[in-house]
Symmetry: C2
Subunit: 300 residues, 2 copies
Protein backbone atom coordinates (compact mmCIF):
# COMPACT_ATOMS: atom_id res chain seq x y z
CA UNK A 1 0.00 0.00 0.00
CA UNK A 2 2.74 2.41 0.99
CA UNK A 3 4.68 1.81 -2.20
CA UNK A 4 1.52 2.17 -4.25
CA UNK A 5 0.81 5.55 -2.66
CA UNK A 6 4.40 6.56 -3.28
CA UNK A 7 4.08 5.87 -6.98
CA UNK A 8 0.73 7.62 -7.20
CA UNK A 9 2.07 10.64 -5.41
CA UNK A 10 4.28 11.54 -8.34
CA UNK A 11 1.69 10.84 -10.96
CA UNK A 12 -1.79 11.66 -9.70
CA UNK A 13 -3.82 11.67 -6.50
CA UNK A 14 -5.47 8.51 -5.35
CA UNK A 15 -9.26 8.67 -5.35
CA UNK A 16 -10.72 7.11 -2.22
CA UNK A 17 -13.70 5.42 -3.82
CA UNK A 18 -16.45 5.41 -1.18
CA UNK A 19 -19.01 4.21 -3.70
CA UNK A 20 -17.07 1.02 -4.38
CA UNK A 21 -16.16 0.34 -0.76
CA UNK A 22 -19.76 0.97 0.35
CA UNK A 23 -21.04 -1.46 -2.29
CA UNK A 24 -18.77 -4.19 -0.86
CA UNK A 25 -19.93 -3.31 2.63
CA UNK A 26 -23.60 -3.50 1.65
CA UNK A 27 -23.05 -6.93 0.11
CA UNK A 28 -21.67 -8.17 3.43
CA UNK A 29 -24.57 -6.54 5.28
CA UNK A 30 -27.10 -8.27 3.00
CA UNK A 31 -25.60 -11.61 4.09
CA UNK A 32 -25.91 -10.67 7.77
CA UNK A 33 -29.54 -9.66 7.18
CA UNK A 34 -30.22 -13.07 5.60
CA UNK A 35 -28.78 -14.81 8.65
CA UNK A 36 -31.12 -12.75 10.86
CA UNK A 37 -34.15 -13.42 8.64
CA UNK A 38 -33.39 -17.15 8.85
CA UNK A 39 -33.78 -16.75 12.63
CA UNK A 40 -37.11 -14.98 12.13
CA UNK A 41 -35.75 -11.48 12.77
CA UNK A 42 -36.32 -8.71 10.24
CA UNK A 43 -34.10 -5.69 11.05
CA UNK A 44 -36.23 -2.58 11.07
CA UNK A 45 -35.30 1.11 10.96
CA UNK A 46 -37.78 3.82 11.97
CA UNK A 47 -37.59 7.42 10.77
CA UNK A 48 -39.15 10.15 12.87
CA UNK A 49 -39.45 13.66 11.48
CA UNK A 50 -41.41 16.78 12.41
CA UNK A 51 -41.97 19.48 9.83
CA UNK A 52 -39.57 17.82 7.39
CA UNK A 53 -38.90 19.68 4.15
CA UNK A 54 -38.80 18.14 0.68
CA UNK A 55 -35.04 17.55 0.78
CA UNK A 56 -35.27 15.75 4.10
CA UNK A 57 -38.14 13.54 2.94
CA UNK A 58 -36.38 12.75 -0.31
CA UNK A 59 -33.27 11.72 1.64
CA UNK A 60 -35.47 9.50 3.80
CA UNK A 61 -36.99 7.84 0.73
CA UNK A 62 -33.60 7.16 -0.79
CA UNK A 63 -32.44 5.57 2.48
CA UNK A 64 -35.61 3.50 2.64
CA UNK A 65 -34.94 2.23 -0.89
CA UNK A 66 -31.41 1.13 0.04
CA UNK A 67 -32.81 -0.57 3.15
CA UNK A 68 -35.34 -2.44 1.01
CA UNK A 69 -32.56 -3.76 -1.24
CA UNK A 70 -30.76 -5.22 1.77
CA UNK A 71 -33.88 -6.70 3.33
CA UNK A 72 -34.07 -4.10 6.11
CA UNK A 73 -37.64 -3.00 6.86
CA UNK A 74 -38.40 0.68 7.39
CA UNK A 75 -41.15 2.71 8.97
CA UNK A 76 -41.73 6.46 8.78
CA UNK A 77 -43.47 8.73 11.21
CA UNK A 78 -43.56 12.17 9.62
CA UNK A 79 -45.21 14.62 11.98
CA UNK A 80 -46.41 18.06 10.92
CA UNK A 81 -44.42 21.24 11.52
CA UNK A 82 -46.95 22.48 14.11
CA UNK A 83 -46.48 19.41 16.31
CA UNK A 84 -46.26 19.71 20.12
CA UNK A 85 -43.27 18.51 22.10
CA UNK A 86 -45.39 15.82 23.78
CA UNK A 87 -46.42 14.38 20.41
CA UNK A 88 -42.79 14.02 19.34
CA UNK A 89 -41.85 12.65 22.76
CA UNK A 90 -44.68 10.11 22.70
CA UNK A 91 -43.69 8.97 19.22
CA UNK A 92 -40.16 8.24 20.52
CA UNK A 93 -41.52 6.34 23.53
CA UNK A 94 -43.74 4.26 21.26
CA UNK A 95 -40.81 3.39 18.97
CA UNK A 96 -38.71 2.50 22.01
CA UNK A 97 -41.43 0.09 23.14
CA UNK A 98 -41.96 -1.49 19.72
CA UNK A 99 -39.98 -4.76 19.79
CA UNK A 100 -40.00 -4.95 15.99
CA UNK A 101 -38.06 -1.68 15.68
CA UNK A 102 -34.26 -2.01 16.03
CA UNK A 103 -33.10 1.44 15.04
CA UNK A 104 -34.57 4.94 15.39
CA UNK A 105 -33.46 8.03 13.48
CA UNK A 106 -34.85 11.35 14.63
CA UNK A 107 -34.30 14.03 12.00
CA UNK A 108 -32.78 17.18 13.48
CA UNK A 109 -33.27 20.07 13.74
CA UNK A 110 -36.75 19.62 15.20
CA UNK A 111 -39.27 22.51 15.20
CA UNK A 112 -38.27 25.32 17.58
CA UNK A 113 -41.07 24.64 20.09
CA UNK A 114 -39.62 21.18 20.76
CA UNK A 115 -36.84 20.74 23.36
CA UNK A 116 -34.53 18.78 21.08
CA UNK A 117 -32.25 17.62 23.87
CA UNK A 118 -35.19 16.12 25.76
CA UNK A 119 -36.30 14.20 22.68
CA UNK A 120 -32.80 12.90 21.91
CA UNK A 121 -32.36 11.90 25.57
CA UNK A 122 -35.58 9.88 25.31
CA UNK A 123 -34.28 7.63 22.51
CA UNK A 124 -33.44 4.16 23.85
CA UNK A 125 -29.60 4.13 23.64
CA UNK A 126 -29.79 0.58 22.23
CA UNK A 127 -31.90 1.81 19.29
CA UNK A 128 -29.97 5.05 18.84
CA UNK A 129 -28.30 4.03 15.55
CA UNK A 130 -27.30 7.61 14.73
CA UNK A 131 -25.67 8.12 18.14
CA UNK A 132 -27.68 11.25 18.93
CA UNK A 133 -28.64 10.44 22.53
CA UNK A 134 -26.46 12.36 24.97
CA UNK A 135 -25.80 9.07 26.77
CA UNK A 136 -24.22 7.57 23.67
CA UNK A 137 -22.47 10.83 22.83
CA UNK A 138 -21.00 10.92 26.33
CA UNK A 139 -19.83 7.34 26.03
CA UNK A 140 -18.33 7.91 22.62
CA UNK A 141 -15.07 9.36 23.85
CA UNK A 142 -14.47 6.31 26.03
CA UNK A 143 -15.20 3.75 23.36
CA UNK A 144 -18.35 2.38 24.99
CA UNK A 145 -21.11 3.97 22.96
CA UNK A 146 -23.73 1.53 21.69
CA UNK A 147 -23.05 2.72 18.14
CA UNK A 148 -20.64 4.95 16.26
CA UNK A 149 -22.33 7.90 14.52
CA UNK A 150 -22.70 7.21 10.83
CA UNK A 151 -20.53 9.82 9.12
CA UNK A 152 -17.50 9.49 11.41
CA UNK A 153 -17.81 5.69 11.22
CA UNK A 154 -18.06 5.89 7.43
CA UNK A 155 -14.93 8.06 7.22
CA UNK A 156 -12.96 5.76 9.50
CA UNK A 157 -14.10 2.65 7.61
CA UNK A 158 -13.00 4.23 4.35
CA UNK A 159 -9.54 5.11 5.71
CA UNK A 160 -9.28 1.63 7.18
CA UNK A 161 -10.23 0.04 3.87
CA UNK A 162 -7.38 1.89 2.16
CA UNK A 163 -5.05 0.88 5.00
CA UNK A 164 -4.39 4.50 5.91
CA UNK A 165 -2.77 4.54 9.34
CA UNK A 166 -4.22 6.88 11.98
CA UNK A 167 -1.91 6.33 14.93
CA UNK A 168 0.54 9.21 15.42
CA UNK A 169 -0.95 10.97 12.40
CA UNK A 170 -2.16 14.54 12.69
CA UNK A 171 -5.80 14.84 11.69
CA UNK A 172 -7.09 18.38 11.27
CA UNK A 173 -10.87 18.69 11.20
CA UNK A 174 -12.55 21.86 9.92
CA UNK A 175 -15.94 21.97 11.64
CA UNK A 176 -17.15 21.32 15.18
CA UNK A 177 -20.71 20.14 14.41
CA UNK A 178 -22.77 17.45 16.15
CA UNK A 179 -22.86 15.14 13.15
CA UNK A 180 -19.26 15.04 11.94
CA UNK A 181 -16.54 17.25 13.42
CA UNK A 182 -17.19 16.76 17.09
CA UNK A 183 -17.88 12.99 17.17
CA UNK A 184 -15.11 12.22 14.67
CA UNK A 185 -12.60 13.92 16.98
CA UNK A 186 -13.92 11.86 19.90
CA UNK A 187 -13.35 8.58 18.11
CA UNK A 188 -9.98 9.48 16.63
CA UNK A 189 -8.33 10.44 19.93
CA UNK A 190 -9.29 7.17 21.60
CA UNK A 191 -6.73 4.56 22.60
CA UNK A 192 -8.08 2.08 20.05
CA UNK A 193 -7.17 0.64 16.69
CA UNK A 194 -9.54 3.14 15.11
CA UNK A 195 -7.93 5.98 17.01
CA UNK A 196 -4.67 7.12 18.55
CA UNK A 197 -4.54 10.03 16.13
CA UNK A 198 -3.58 13.53 17.19
CA UNK A 199 -6.55 15.76 16.43
CA UNK A 200 -6.98 19.47 15.87
CA UNK A 201 -10.49 20.90 15.64
CA UNK A 202 -10.80 24.25 13.93
CA UNK A 203 -13.89 26.20 12.93
CA UNK A 204 -15.40 29.50 11.81
CA UNK A 205 -13.76 31.43 14.66
CA UNK A 206 -10.27 29.97 14.29
CA UNK A 207 -8.92 32.89 12.31
CA UNK A 208 -6.52 31.87 9.54
CA UNK A 209 -7.47 28.23 8.97
CA UNK A 210 -4.48 27.50 6.76
CA UNK A 211 -2.28 27.88 9.85
CA UNK A 212 -3.80 24.57 10.95
CA UNK A 213 -4.75 22.78 7.76
CA UNK A 214 -1.23 23.03 6.32
CA UNK A 215 -0.01 20.99 9.31
CA UNK A 216 -2.34 18.06 8.67
CA UNK A 217 -1.41 14.57 7.55
CA UNK A 218 -5.13 13.98 7.07
CA UNK A 219 -7.48 16.91 6.48
CA UNK A 220 -11.22 16.50 7.06
CA UNK A 221 -13.61 19.16 5.73
CA UNK A 222 -16.97 19.27 7.49
CA UNK A 223 -17.85 22.91 7.05
CA UNK A 224 -21.05 22.86 5.04
CA UNK A 225 -19.79 25.43 2.51
CA UNK A 226 -19.44 24.57 -1.15
CA UNK A 227 -15.83 24.32 -2.42
CA UNK A 228 -14.54 26.09 0.69
CA UNK A 229 -11.20 24.27 0.89
CA UNK A 230 -8.92 25.46 -1.90
CA UNK A 231 -5.26 24.98 -2.82
CA UNK A 232 -4.04 27.33 -0.13
CA UNK A 233 -5.26 24.89 2.57
CA UNK A 234 -3.36 21.81 1.47
CA UNK A 235 0.05 20.29 0.78
CA UNK A 236 1.09 17.56 -1.60
CA UNK A 237 1.58 14.82 0.98
CA UNK A 238 -1.92 15.09 2.38
CA UNK A 239 -4.99 12.88 2.50
CA UNK A 240 -8.16 14.95 2.09
CA UNK A 241 -11.57 13.73 3.31
CA UNK A 242 -14.55 15.73 2.13
CA UNK A 243 -17.62 15.30 4.35
CA UNK A 244 -19.54 18.12 2.69
CA UNK A 245 -22.73 17.77 0.66
CA UNK A 246 -23.76 21.09 -0.88
CA UNK A 247 -26.26 21.69 -3.64
CA UNK A 248 -25.08 24.37 -6.08
CA UNK A 249 -26.86 25.72 -9.11
CA UNK A 250 -24.99 25.39 -12.41
CA UNK A 251 -25.97 26.21 -15.98
CA UNK A 252 -26.93 22.53 -16.29
CA UNK A 253 -29.17 22.61 -13.20
CA UNK A 254 -28.49 21.62 -9.58
CA UNK A 255 -25.27 19.83 -8.82
CA UNK A 256 -23.86 18.22 -5.68
CA UNK A 257 -20.44 19.44 -4.55
CA UNK A 258 -18.34 18.97 -1.45
CA UNK A 259 -16.65 21.36 0.97
CA UNK A 260 -13.43 20.91 -1.01
CA UNK A 261 -12.75 22.56 -4.35
CA UNK A 262 -12.14 19.18 -5.96
CA UNK A 263 -10.93 20.54 -9.29
CA UNK A 264 -8.31 22.75 -7.67
CA UNK A 265 -7.18 20.32 -4.97
CA UNK A 266 -7.58 16.79 -6.28
CA UNK A 267 -4.44 16.66 -8.42
CA UNK A 268 -2.26 18.22 -5.74
CA UNK A 269 -2.69 15.86 -2.79
CA UNK A 270 -1.80 12.26 -2.06
CA UNK A 271 -5.38 11.02 -1.85
CA UNK A 272 -8.88 12.51 -1.78
CA UNK A 273 -12.55 11.53 -1.54
CA UNK A 274 -14.84 12.70 -4.35
CA UNK A 275 -18.32 14.22 -3.86
CA UNK A 276 -20.55 12.44 -4.64
CA UNK A 277 -19.15 8.94 -4.23
CA UNK A 278 -16.88 9.44 -1.22
CA UNK A 279 -18.05 9.92 2.34
CA UNK A 280 -21.77 9.92 1.41
CA UNK A 281 -22.23 6.24 0.52
CA UNK A 282 -19.90 5.24 3.40
CA UNK A 283 -22.19 7.13 5.79
CA UNK A 284 -25.29 5.29 4.58
CA UNK A 285 -23.48 1.93 4.84
CA UNK A 286 -22.37 2.72 8.40
CA UNK A 287 -25.90 3.64 9.41
CA UNK A 288 -27.30 0.43 7.96
CA UNK A 289 -24.60 -1.56 9.70
CA UNK A 290 -25.74 -0.01 13.00
CA UNK A 291 -29.29 -1.23 12.32
CA UNK A 292 -28.00 -4.73 11.58
CA UNK A 293 -25.82 -4.65 14.73
CA UNK A 294 -28.85 -3.60 16.80
CA UNK A 295 -30.89 -6.50 15.39
CA UNK A 296 -28.03 -8.97 15.90
CA UNK A 297 -27.69 -7.95 19.55
CA UNK A 298 -31.41 -8.55 20.05
CA UNK A 299 -31.11 -11.99 18.42
CA UNK A 300 -28.65 -13.23 21.05
CA UNK B 1 -3.68 43.61 30.49
CA UNK B 2 -2.10 43.17 27.08
CA UNK B 3 0.47 45.89 27.71
CA UNK B 4 1.21 44.42 31.12
CA UNK B 5 1.90 41.04 29.55
CA UNK B 6 4.05 42.71 26.95
CA UNK B 7 6.25 44.29 29.57
CA UNK B 8 6.49 41.11 31.57
CA UNK B 9 7.46 39.18 28.50
CA UNK B 10 10.81 40.90 28.34
CA UNK B 11 11.52 40.75 32.03
CA UNK B 12 10.07 37.61 33.58
CA UNK B 13 7.14 35.28 33.21
CA UNK B 14 3.84 36.11 34.80
CA UNK B 15 2.77 33.66 37.48
CA UNK B 16 -0.92 32.81 37.20
CA UNK B 17 -1.72 32.73 40.90
CA UNK B 18 -4.48 30.15 41.31
CA UNK B 19 -4.19 30.28 45.07
CA UNK B 20 -5.05 33.98 45.17
CA UNK B 21 -7.83 33.80 42.58
CA UNK B 22 -9.35 30.74 44.30
CA UNK B 23 -9.32 32.59 47.63
CA UNK B 24 -11.34 35.44 46.08
CA UNK B 25 -13.68 32.90 44.51
CA UNK B 26 -14.22 31.11 47.84
CA UNK B 27 -15.06 34.41 49.54
CA UNK B 28 -17.79 35.01 46.95
CA UNK B 29 -19.02 31.44 47.41
CA UNK B 30 -19.24 31.89 51.18
CA UNK B 31 -21.61 34.81 50.60
CA UNK B 32 -23.79 32.71 48.30
CA UNK B 33 -23.86 29.95 50.94
CA UNK B 34 -25.02 32.49 53.55
CA UNK B 35 -27.85 33.57 51.27
CA UNK B 36 -28.91 29.93 50.95
CA UNK B 37 -28.64 29.28 54.68
CA UNK B 38 -30.87 32.33 55.29
CA UNK B 39 -33.48 30.52 53.19
CA UNK B 40 -33.06 27.38 55.28
CA UNK B 41 -30.95 25.50 52.73
CA UNK B 42 -27.58 24.05 53.70
CA UNK B 43 -25.64 23.01 50.57
CA UNK B 44 -24.37 19.47 51.03
CA UNK B 45 -21.76 17.46 49.16
CA UNK B 46 -21.59 13.66 49.42
CA UNK B 47 -18.45 11.62 48.75
CA UNK B 48 -18.78 8.01 47.70
CA UNK B 49 -15.69 5.81 47.55
CA UNK B 50 -15.06 2.08 47.34
CA UNK B 51 -11.70 0.67 48.36
CA UNK B 52 -10.21 4.16 48.66
CA UNK B 53 -6.51 4.35 49.50
CA UNK B 54 -4.91 6.69 52.04
CA UNK B 55 -4.17 9.39 49.47
CA UNK B 56 -7.76 9.40 48.25
CA UNK B 57 -9.18 9.59 51.79
CA UNK B 58 -6.77 12.35 52.74
CA UNK B 59 -7.84 14.34 49.66
CA UNK B 60 -11.46 13.83 50.70
CA UNK B 61 -10.72 15.11 54.22
CA UNK B 62 -9.01 18.21 52.92
CA UNK B 63 -11.98 18.94 50.65
CA UNK B 64 -14.37 18.40 53.56
CA UNK B 65 -12.36 20.91 55.62
CA UNK B 66 -12.62 23.55 52.89
CA UNK B 67 -16.36 22.85 52.61
CA UNK B 68 -16.74 23.34 56.36
CA UNK B 69 -15.05 26.74 56.15
CA UNK B 70 -17.57 27.88 53.54
CA UNK B 71 -20.58 26.46 55.37
CA UNK B 72 -21.07 23.55 52.95
CA UNK B 73 -22.03 20.32 54.71
CA UNK B 74 -20.39 17.06 53.69
CA UNK B 75 -21.14 13.38 54.03
CA UNK B 76 -18.86 10.44 53.29
CA UNK B 77 -19.76 6.91 52.31
CA UNK B 78 -16.53 4.97 52.14
CA UNK B 79 -17.26 1.40 51.09
CA UNK B 80 -14.75 -1.44 51.42
CA UNK B 81 -12.62 -2.65 48.51
CA UNK B 82 -14.50 -5.98 48.38
CA UNK B 83 -17.83 -4.26 47.77
CA UNK B 84 -20.35 -5.62 45.24
CA UNK B 85 -21.60 -3.59 42.29
CA UNK B 86 -25.13 -3.60 43.77
CA UNK B 87 -23.89 -2.05 47.01
CA UNK B 88 -22.21 0.82 45.15
CA UNK B 89 -25.26 1.21 42.90
CA UNK B 90 -27.65 1.29 45.85
CA UNK B 91 -25.51 3.89 47.60
CA UNK B 92 -25.82 6.14 44.54
CA UNK B 93 -29.59 5.63 44.36
CA UNK B 94 -29.91 6.52 48.04
CA UNK B 95 -27.87 9.71 47.60
CA UNK B 96 -29.99 10.62 44.56
CA UNK B 97 -33.13 10.26 46.68
CA UNK B 98 -31.77 12.22 49.66
CA UNK B 99 -33.22 15.74 49.29
CA UNK B 100 -30.59 17.15 51.64
CA UNK B 101 -27.76 16.14 49.30
CA UNK B 102 -27.04 18.59 46.47
CA UNK B 103 -23.84 17.18 45.01
CA UNK B 104 -22.40 13.68 44.67
CA UNK B 105 -18.78 12.82 43.94
CA UNK B 106 -18.00 9.21 43.12
CA UNK B 107 -14.26 8.53 43.38
CA UNK B 108 -12.94 6.73 40.32
CA UNK B 109 -11.49 4.30 39.52
CA UNK B 110 -13.91 1.97 41.33
CA UNK B 111 -12.90 -1.63 42.15
CA UNK B 112 -12.59 -3.81 39.05
CA UNK B 113 -15.71 -5.91 39.81
CA UNK B 114 -17.87 -2.79 39.54
CA UNK B 115 -19.17 -1.64 36.14
CA UNK B 116 -18.00 1.95 36.51
CA UNK B 117 -20.05 3.24 33.59
CA UNK B 118 -23.26 1.82 35.09
CA UNK B 119 -22.53 3.56 38.40
CA UNK B 120 -21.69 6.91 36.76
CA UNK B 121 -24.84 6.65 34.62
CA UNK B 122 -26.88 6.17 37.80
CA UNK B 123 -25.84 9.53 39.30
CA UNK B 124 -28.68 12.06 39.07
CA UNK B 125 -27.37 14.53 36.42
CA UNK B 126 -28.58 17.41 38.61
CA UNK B 127 -26.33 16.23 41.48
CA UNK B 128 -23.41 15.26 39.25
CA UNK B 129 -21.16 18.14 40.34
CA UNK B 130 -18.05 16.48 38.90
CA UNK B 131 -19.71 15.98 35.49
CA UNK B 132 -18.98 12.25 35.41
CA UNK B 133 -22.39 11.01 34.24
CA UNK B 134 -22.32 10.15 30.53
CA UNK B 135 -25.44 12.28 30.11
CA UNK B 136 -23.62 15.38 31.32
CA UNK B 137 -20.47 14.42 29.44
CA UNK B 138 -22.51 14.06 26.26
CA UNK B 139 -24.12 17.44 26.82
CA UNK B 140 -20.82 19.12 27.59
CA UNK B 141 -19.81 19.68 24.00
CA UNK B 142 -23.08 21.47 23.31
CA UNK B 143 -22.97 23.76 26.29
CA UNK B 144 -25.94 22.23 28.07
CA UNK B 145 -24.35 20.08 30.73
CA UNK B 146 -25.74 20.64 34.24
CA UNK B 147 -22.21 21.42 35.45
CA UNK B 148 -18.74 21.96 34.08
CA UNK B 149 -16.19 19.43 35.33
CA UNK B 150 -14.04 20.94 38.05
CA UNK B 151 -10.52 20.99 36.61
CA UNK B 152 -11.45 22.33 33.15
CA UNK B 153 -13.75 24.91 34.78
CA UNK B 154 -10.94 25.89 37.16
CA UNK B 155 -8.50 26.33 34.27
CA UNK B 156 -10.95 28.42 32.26
CA UNK B 157 -11.84 30.57 35.29
CA UNK B 158 -8.16 31.24 35.91
CA UNK B 159 -7.53 32.27 32.28
CA UNK B 160 -10.65 34.40 32.39
CA UNK B 161 -9.52 36.09 35.59
CA UNK B 162 -6.26 37.11 33.94
CA UNK B 163 -8.22 38.29 30.87
CA UNK B 164 -6.46 35.81 28.63
CA UNK B 165 -8.43 35.60 25.38
CA UNK B 166 -9.36 32.13 24.06
CA UNK B 167 -11.11 32.94 20.81
CA UNK B 168 -8.94 32.25 17.77
CA UNK B 169 -6.14 31.09 20.05
CA UNK B 170 -4.53 27.71 19.53
CA UNK B 171 -4.75 25.60 22.68
CA UNK B 172 -2.67 22.43 22.65
CA UNK B 173 -3.60 19.90 25.33
CA UNK B 174 -1.24 17.06 26.24
CA UNK B 175 -3.46 14.33 27.64
CA UNK B 176 -6.81 12.83 26.62
CA UNK B 177 -8.09 11.73 30.05
CA UNK B 178 -11.63 11.81 31.43
CA UNK B 179 -10.90 14.41 34.08
CA UNK B 180 -8.97 17.09 32.23
CA UNK B 181 -7.85 16.70 28.62
CA UNK B 182 -11.04 15.43 27.04
CA UNK B 183 -13.61 17.66 28.79
CA UNK B 184 -11.41 20.76 28.53
CA UNK B 185 -11.26 20.30 24.76
CA UNK B 186 -15.06 19.95 24.68
CA UNK B 187 -15.58 23.24 26.44
CA UNK B 188 -12.92 25.18 24.59
CA UNK B 189 -14.23 24.39 21.09
CA UNK B 190 -17.75 25.57 21.90
CA UNK B 191 -19.29 28.64 20.34
CA UNK B 192 -19.37 30.45 23.68
CA UNK B 193 -17.53 33.18 25.51
CA UNK B 194 -15.59 30.45 27.32
CA UNK B 195 -14.73 28.80 24.05
CA UNK B 196 -14.13 29.45 20.39
CA UNK B 197 -10.54 28.29 20.75
CA UNK B 198 -8.87 26.03 18.22
CA UNK B 199 -7.87 22.88 20.06
CA UNK B 200 -5.31 20.16 19.45
CA UNK B 201 -5.36 17.06 21.65
CA UNK B 202 -2.15 15.06 21.76
CA UNK B 203 -1.19 12.11 23.94
CA UNK B 204 1.17 9.22 24.59
CA UNK B 205 0.81 7.90 21.04
CA UNK B 206 1.26 11.19 19.22
CA UNK B 207 4.92 10.60 18.44
CA UNK B 208 7.04 13.76 18.68
CA UNK B 209 4.93 15.96 20.96
CA UNK B 210 7.01 19.07 20.37
CA UNK B 211 5.69 19.07 16.79
CA UNK B 212 2.38 20.15 18.36
CA UNK B 213 3.31 21.93 21.57
CA UNK B 214 5.61 24.40 19.79
CA UNK B 215 2.56 25.59 17.80
CA UNK B 216 0.50 26.46 20.87
CA UNK B 217 -0.55 29.89 22.07
CA UNK B 218 -1.72 28.19 25.25
CA UNK B 219 -0.21 24.86 26.30
CA UNK B 220 -2.04 22.67 28.82
CA UNK B 221 -0.18 19.77 30.43
CA UNK B 222 -2.44 17.02 31.77
CA UNK B 223 -0.18 14.04 31.42
CA UNK B 224 0.29 12.79 34.97
CA UNK B 225 4.08 12.58 34.71
CA UNK B 226 6.31 14.66 36.94
CA UNK B 227 8.20 17.49 35.18
CA UNK B 228 7.43 15.95 31.77
CA UNK B 229 7.21 19.23 29.85
CA UNK B 230 10.68 20.73 29.47
CA UNK B 231 12.19 23.63 27.53
CA UNK B 232 12.04 21.80 24.22
CA UNK B 233 8.21 21.87 24.33
CA UNK B 234 7.71 25.59 24.65
CA UNK B 235 8.34 29.01 23.10
CA UNK B 236 8.73 32.43 24.70
CA UNK B 237 5.32 33.79 23.73
CA UNK B 238 3.39 30.96 25.35
CA UNK B 239 0.97 30.62 28.26
CA UNK B 240 1.56 27.34 30.09
CA UNK B 241 -1.11 25.70 32.24
CA UNK B 242 0.04 22.84 34.43
CA UNK B 243 -2.81 20.52 35.48
CA UNK B 244 -0.46 17.89 36.89
CA UNK B 245 -0.17 16.87 40.54
CA UNK B 246 2.64 14.40 41.09
CA UNK B 247 4.25 13.37 44.35
CA UNK B 248 8.02 13.00 44.02
CA UNK B 249 10.50 11.95 46.68
CA UNK B 250 13.26 14.43 47.44
CA UNK B 251 16.05 14.44 50.00
CA UNK B 252 13.71 16.60 52.13
CA UNK B 253 10.79 14.14 51.88
CA UNK B 254 7.81 14.03 49.55
CA UNK B 255 7.17 17.03 47.38
CA UNK B 256 4.34 17.99 45.00
CA UNK B 257 5.33 18.84 41.45
CA UNK B 258 3.43 19.42 38.21
CA UNK B 259 3.68 17.94 34.73
CA UNK B 260 5.84 20.90 33.74
CA UNK B 261 9.48 21.29 34.68
CA UNK B 262 8.77 24.61 36.36
CA UNK B 263 12.41 25.50 37.01
CA UNK B 264 13.39 25.00 33.40
CA UNK B 265 10.29 26.51 31.79
CA UNK B 266 8.95 29.24 34.05
CA UNK B 267 11.40 31.98 33.11
CA UNK B 268 11.10 31.30 29.40
CA UNK B 269 7.37 31.72 28.75
CA UNK B 270 4.91 34.58 28.87
CA UNK B 271 2.87 33.18 31.76
CA UNK B 272 2.66 29.95 33.76
CA UNK B 273 0.74 28.31 36.60
CA UNK B 274 2.80 27.04 39.54
CA UNK B 275 2.28 23.65 41.27
CA UNK B 276 1.09 23.81 43.96
CA UNK B 277 -0.93 27.02 43.89
CA UNK B 278 -2.10 27.04 40.29
CA UNK B 279 -4.77 24.75 38.84
CA UNK B 280 -5.23 22.78 42.09
CA UNK B 281 -7.00 25.43 44.21
CA UNK B 282 -8.98 26.59 41.15
CA UNK B 283 -10.27 23.02 40.72
CA UNK B 284 -11.47 22.83 44.31
CA UNK B 285 -13.16 26.24 44.00
CA UNK B 286 -14.93 25.16 40.79
CA UNK B 287 -16.18 21.98 42.43
CA UNK B 288 -17.54 23.90 45.42
CA UNK B 289 -19.18 26.38 43.08
CA UNK B 290 -20.98 23.46 41.41
CA UNK B 291 -22.33 22.36 44.79
CA UNK B 292 -23.55 25.89 45.50
CA UNK B 293 -25.13 26.11 42.02
CA UNK B 294 -26.92 22.80 42.62
CA UNK B 295 -28.31 24.08 45.93
CA UNK B 296 -29.29 27.42 44.39
CA UNK B 297 -31.23 25.67 41.63
CA UNK B 298 -33.11 23.65 44.23
CA UNK B 299 -33.93 26.82 46.17
CA UNK B 300 -35.85 28.30 43.23
Amino acid sequence: MTSLLLVLQFSMSMILDGKKVARQKRALLAERVQTLVAKGIIPKLAFLTAGADEASLSYQHSQARICAKLGIATQSINLAADVTEEEVYNAVIQLNADVDVHGIIVAIPLPKVVDEERILTAIDPQKDVDCLSPINRGRLAFDNSEFLPATPAGIINLLHNYEIELEARHVVIIGRGKAVGWPLAQILIQKTKKGNATVTICHSRSGDLTRYTKQADILVAAVGRARFVGQEFIHSNQIVIDAGINAVETSAGWSMVGDVDFEAVSTKVKAITPVPGGVGPMTVAALLENVVIAAERRSK
